[in-house]
C-alpha cells in the first residue's frame, strides 16, 4: 500500500514501471485466486463481485504505472543469464550439507567459544548459519524455485534497468513478495537472509525487495 501511495504521489516522475507480461500475469493470478481458491460453496454472484472488485483495483493500480515496452531479443538473452545464475545458486546451495555445516560450525566454535561451552554452542551456531542462508537453501525445494515466468519478469526488469541506465545513473527496484527475489525478513522487518537478492544485484544491478521496503528506500532517496 505504501509503495502504491508513493508512486501515486510521484506519478509525474514516472518512476513506477510495469510491462505487458506483468500485467497479464497479475490478471491471471487474480482470476486463479478468485475462481480456484475460493471454495466451491461460495456462490457465483459473490465470486463475480469479488473478481470485479479485484479487476477494478488492478486497473486502478495499473493506471498509476507506466507501461514500458521491452526489447524481446535482449530479454531472451538476459533470461538465459538469469537461468544460469539460479543454476549456479542451486549448485551453491547443494554444497550446504550437514557435514559441511558441522565442519564450518566446529571451526567457528573452536575459535570463539571456550571448550566447556562448545557442545552447547554447536547447535545454536548451526541454526544461525542455516537461518542466514535460508533464502539460498529454499532453492533446494523445487516448489520454491522461481518459475520460468518469474525469471522472464526479472529479465525484463534488468532490460529496463539497462535502457534507463544508458541515459543516466539509475537505481532499479523490483518490488516482489517472492523470496526467490526479495530477502527473507525477520518478524521485526530486518533482513534475515539475502544471498540470492545480493547475487541478483551484483550480476544485474536490480535491487529486489518487498514493496513496503522499496517504498521506504524510495522515500529516503527522493
Amino acid at each position: 500500500m505504501k509503495l502504491l501511495r508513493f508512486l501515486k504521489e510521484h506519478r509525474v516522475k514516472r518512476i513506477g514501471l510495469v510491462t505487458e507480461r506483468i500485467e497479464r500475469e497479475a490478471s491471471s493470478v487474480l482470476e486463479k485466486a478468485v475462481i480456484s481458491e475460493l471454495g466451491r460453496d461460495v456462490e457465483f454472484a459473490i465470486k463475480s463481485v469479488v473478481l470485479d472488485l479485484c479487476w477494478d483495483r488492478l486497473s486502478d493500480i495499473l493506471s498509476i504505472l507506466v507501461k514500458e515496452p521491452t526489447d524481446q531479443k535482449r530479454v531472451d538473452e538476459l533470461f538465459v543469464n538469469i537461468v544460469y545464475m539460479y543454476k549456479h545458486l542451486m549448485d551453491r546451495a547443494s554444497l550446504v550439507t550437514p557435514t559441511t555445516v558441522r565442519a564450518i560450525v566446529s571451526e567457528k566454535v573452536r575459535g570463539m567459544v571456550s571448550s566447556r561451552f562448545r557442545k552447547l554452542a554447536q547447535p545454536i551456531y548451526s541454526a544461525q548459519l542455516l537461518r542466514g542462508r535460508s533464502q539460498l537453501l529454499r532453492l533446494l525445494d523445487p516448489s520454491r524455485r522461481p518459475s520460468i515466468l518469474d525469471q522472464f519478469i526479472l529479465a525484463e526488469a534488468v532490460c529496463l534497468y539497462e535502457k534507463y541506465n544508458a541515459f543516466e545513473p539509475t537505481a532499479m527496484f523490483l518490488a516482489s513478495a517472492d523470496t526467490a527475489f526479495s530477502p527473507i525478513l525477520r518478524s521485526d522487518g530486518s533482513v534475515l537472509s539475502d544471498e540470492i537478492t545480493r547475487e541478483i544485484y551484483d550480476r544485474f544491478s536490480v535491487q529486489c525487495d518487498w514493496p513496503e521496503r522499496v517504498a521506504k528506500r524510495l522515500a529516503e532517496t527522493s
Binding site: I35, E37, V42, F44, V50, L53
Partner: protein
C-alpha cells in the same frame, strides 16, 4: 427477444441508432431497445447461475453479468440524459464501447453453442478489457451498487478467505 441472432441484431441496431444520434447531435429514446437487450442478457446470466456445473460455467456467468451491468448503466444514463445534461456525451461514450461489446457477444454466442476452455479464457480477458474501458467512460455502476446485489455477510467471508489465501502466496 428470441435468440442470440436477435441479440446481436439489437446491438447492431443500437449502434446504428447511436450513430444517427451523433449525426443529429441529440439523444433520442432508445429505452425499449436497451430494455430488450438487458432482459435477454440477464436471462443468460440467470441461466449460467443455475446452469449445469461445467468448468466454464462461472466464466460464462461472470461475462454475461458484466454485460448486464454495463447495459443497465447505459440504460439509466440514457434515461437521465436530458435531466443531467449528459447529452451528447453519453452517446459518444456508449459508441466507444459498443465495438468491444459486439466482439465479446460474438465470442459468447459461439461459446454458448460450442463450449471451449481456451476460448472462454479469451472471452474473460476481453470482458476484463471491456470493463476497464466501460469504467473509464462511466458505463459501469458504482461499486457500492454492485455490492448491494449480494449478501454482505457472505461477501465479507469470501473476501476474508481470499485475503488469507493471498497472504500465504508471499510466504513460499
Amino acid at each position: 427477444m428470441r435468440d442470440f441472432e436477435a441479440l446481436l441484431g439489437s446491438v447492431v441496431l443500437l449502434d446504428d441508432e447511436l450513430a444517427a444520434m451523433q449525426v443529429a447531435g441529440e439523444v433520442r429514446n432508445i429505452d425499449s431497445t436497451l430494455e430488450d437487450i438487458v432482459s435477454f442478457v440477464a436471462g443468460r446470466e440467470e441461466f449460467w447461475f443455475h446452469g449445469e456445473p461445467r468448468p466454464t460455467a462461472f466464466k460464462m456467468y461472470h461475462s454475461w453479468r458484466n454485460l448486464r451491468l454495463i447495459f443497465s448503466k447505459m440504460r439509466i444514463r440514457f434515461a437521465n440524459a436530458h435531466l443531467v445534461s449528459d447529452n451528447p456525451l453519453v452517446v459518444d461514450q456508449a459508441r466507444e464501447i459498443i465495438p468491444r461489446i459486439l466482439r465479446i457477444l460474438t465470442s459468447l454466442v459461439a461459446l454458448e453453442r460450442e463450449p471451449s476452455d481456451s476460448d472462454t479464457d479469451l472471452a474473460l480477458r476481453r470482458i476484463q478489457e471491456l470493463r476497464t474501458s466501460a469504467r473509464q467512460v462511466d458505463m459501469t455502476p458504482p461499486a457500492s451498487e454492485e455490492l448491494r446485489e449480494v449478501d454482505q455477510e457472505s461477501l465479507t467471508k469470501a473476501l476474508d478467505e481470499l485475503l488469507n489465501r493471498m497472504a500465504t502466496l508471499g510466504e513460499s
